[in-house]
Structures are given as structure tokens and as C-alpha cells.
Symmetry: C2
DNA sequence: ATATCATATGAACAATGATTCATATGAATG
DNA sequence: CATTCATATGAATCATTGTTCATATGATAT
């Protein structure tokens, strides 16, 4: 007759299961890198501005009360991580959100922050 | 007869709306701080382990192949941000996820990373 | 009580990253 | 074509942070 301890010994332990279910190292790095983008209040502010509409660099800088260079550097980061896209309009370059994931991630975070 | 340009001039511009809809500075800092927690692959790994079950510090250290001190330091960060809780069991201290938000945030991030 | 095991803590170090300043690029306009 | 306006880039600086090493705390078992 099978006793419970014997059955248990054939199953994987929680530790083994945790190890087995762990995503690949590379995926986890990518995930951390994604959250790094959201881990700066300047970038978060930029994303919130772009939730409303597309804007040029100088408008974003004005709303945030920061200099143009700082915003341009951060837009570069956002561009590289495919969270924003851009198009030229006359002299200006208009930035906008690349897709709906940004809003989803911000909203999910806000839910935990609680407001 | 109301013409469209007159109505438009009475409405707020996208820039004004973006400014108005921006959450308070303090909230945005809290949000950035939350994402900072997820912005490190060691902490992400710890959270993934804890998705499975509660574990003691030494088990987590073993699974991740890191020394005990590093894990303890990171658990401190996770504890301070209310993402994990803990209880004593004999000599060991067992850590577990504080609530379901952790899984929700990780899943949302994974969706963008794409796997 | 003392030795042991699990965890926490503090200091030090290296690495990363955000902002500023100065300057370069590059398109548009006169 | 030269000037101007908008944006990008590079170097420098300052702050933050993850890890390690050494050690402290604190509970348990002999």
C-alpha cells in the first residue's frame, strides 16, 4: 500500500519547483531592464505627459520645468527601450507612446502605490 | 452660430490638460520607488521563488547561487517596501509575498518583454 | 551557559546612472 | 547660403546602489 510519505518523496519539493519554474536568466534581465526604465520619476513624468498626446521635446521640458538636454537624454532611453516613438514635424520632433503597455504598467504600479 | 475655432479656444490645450492630469509629485516619486524595487534581477529572482512558496533565507540563497548576506540585504529592501512578509519558524525566518500585486506587476512586465 | 546555526547589519568598493554644461547636428527660413 | 531654431550628443560630476567581507544578533540544542 502506498503511504503518503512515499508519494511525497516522489514529488518535487517546493524548492525544486521554484527552481524549475524560474524563467531563464536572460528573460529576468530583460524584465529588470524594463522596470529600470520606469524606476525614474523624470521618465515617469514624461510618460504621463505622453499619455495625453504627442509632444515636442521643448514642450515636455517646459511642463516638467527641466532643461532640454535632460529631457532629450531621457527620451533617448525611452526610445531605445521601444516605449516611445517619434516623427518630425517642421523643426520639431514629436514624441508619442509606442503602445498601450505603458499605460497598463503605470496603472498596475499605481494600484499598489494606492492612488 | 458657434464656430469650431471659438469653441476650441475656450477648451484647454493638450499641454494644459497634460499638466492638469499629472499626478502629484509625491505620488510619482512613490511610483518610481516601487518600480526601483523591480529594477534588479536579484530581487526579481527572489520574488519569483516566493511566488511558489515561503522560503528561508538560506534556501533562497542556495537556489540563486548567491551568498546569504546579499539575499538578506535584498530581502530587507523587499520587506521595507511591503512586498514580502516573514515569520519565524525555529531558527529559520520564512519569507513570503505580502500580496497579489507582486504577481500582477511581474506578469504585466513579462507581457511587454514578451514571454 | 555555551556552542551552533540562521539571519541581520555595517563598512567598503565598484559600477551604474541622472543631470548639467558646452557644443554639435540638422532642418527650415529669410 | 547663412542664420536660426529644435534637438542630440559627449564629457564631467555627483549620487545611488548591489555585492562582499567581517562581524553582530538572536534563537536553539546539547
Amino acid at each position: 500500500m502506498e503511504n503518503e510519505s512515499k508519494v511525497l518523496s516522489q514529488q518535487e519539493t517546493p524548492l525544486e519547483k521554484a527552481e524549475k519554474d524560474m524563467p531563464d536568466e536572460e528573460i529576468l534581465y530583460d524584465l529588470a531592464d524594463l522596470f529600470k526604465i520606469f524606476a525614474d520619476s523624470t521618465r515617469i513624468k514624461i510618460l504621463y505627459v505622453l499619455l495625453e498626446s504627442e509632444f515636442c521635446v521643448c514642450d515636455i521640458a517646459q511642463v516638467l520645468g527641466m532643461n532640454q538636454s535632460a529631457i532629450s537624454h531621457q527620451l533617448r532611453v525611452l526610445k531605445q527601450s521601444k516605449l516611445v516613438k517619434y516623427r518630425r514635424e517642421g523643426r520639431a520632433i514629436l514624441y508619442s507612446l509606442a503602445d498601450g503597455h505603458v499605460r497598463a504598467i503605470l496603472d498596475q504600479g499605481m494600484e499598489h502605490v494606492g492612488e
